[in-house]
Subunit: 143 residues, 2 copies
């Protein structure tokens, strides 16, 4: 099994509204690949999918559990500077996100904050002084 991730799918209440939220962050969908039922957004070499929460559960063949405050998964967007963390948090709140934790120095030596998108999916915005982000956005860990 090759060591890679192809897609993250977020179950959402309303695909158009969720797409509009990410568009307000400056994230453009693939017009060709997307349709009314699903939005695809290129994120580096992987895809972000925005799909109805009910249809996503149905596709798996399980019941759609009630939404909880904490899904047990977080997504992170790392910034290239410490200052950008607050800039991004400010941008996403203006776009309709809920701020969960303002940017602050954290125990591992970086600076980070958290927000929830309109469907409650939790994103960290983090600056990590120990990791380099390549020009194209990739993060390469040491072995």
């Amino acid at each position: 099994m090759e060591q890679r991730l192809s897609m993250v799918s977020l179950g959402v209440e309303n695909v158009a509204e969720s797409t509009a939220f990410y568009d307000r962050l400056g994230w453009k969908k693939s017009e060709t690949a997307s349709n009314d039922a699903i939005t695809f957004i290129q994120l580096g070499g992987i895809m972000l999918g925005l799909y109805g929460r009910g249809p996503l559960a149905e596709d798996i063949g399980i019941e759609d559990s009630a939404r909880t405050d904490f899904s047990g998964i977080t997504l992170a967007h790392n910034t290239r500077s410490k200052e950008q963390v607050d800039d991004v948090l400010s941008l996403v709140v203006n776009a309709g996100a809920k701020l969960l934790k303002p940017g602050q120095d954290v125990f591992w030596g970086g600076y980070s904050g958290y927000f929830a998108d309109p469907d409650g999916h939790i994103w960290e915005v983090a600056w990590n002084p120990f990791l380099e982000i390549s020009e194209n956005g990739a993060i390469i860990l040491p072995d």
Copy 2:
């Protein structure tokens, strides 16, 4: 806000056991970046993090909700051929995953199945005849 994802963090009951599960899939952690509290695994240009579910909620500053059968998020691993879907599903089940949906032809023209990792995080294993996977594993959507 640059259009990219840096990390997916999975909240797990036991970091060592979850790390061992992904290791059985052939996914090697970064020895340098990982420690007893967190495992980092390189997946293309992003990182997969395995971190305690409680500490993850604590980092966000929210209560750890009870785990549900469906978190509302799925991760996907796309294969390079239709046959590989069944091979991967067989591998992960032998490694301790729970099969949620056997590989099958699906309405959008591909072939896919789902499994849950030992903490219930749901992965799709999919072959999509309309998407090309580059040599390094990246998937590039049309505009």
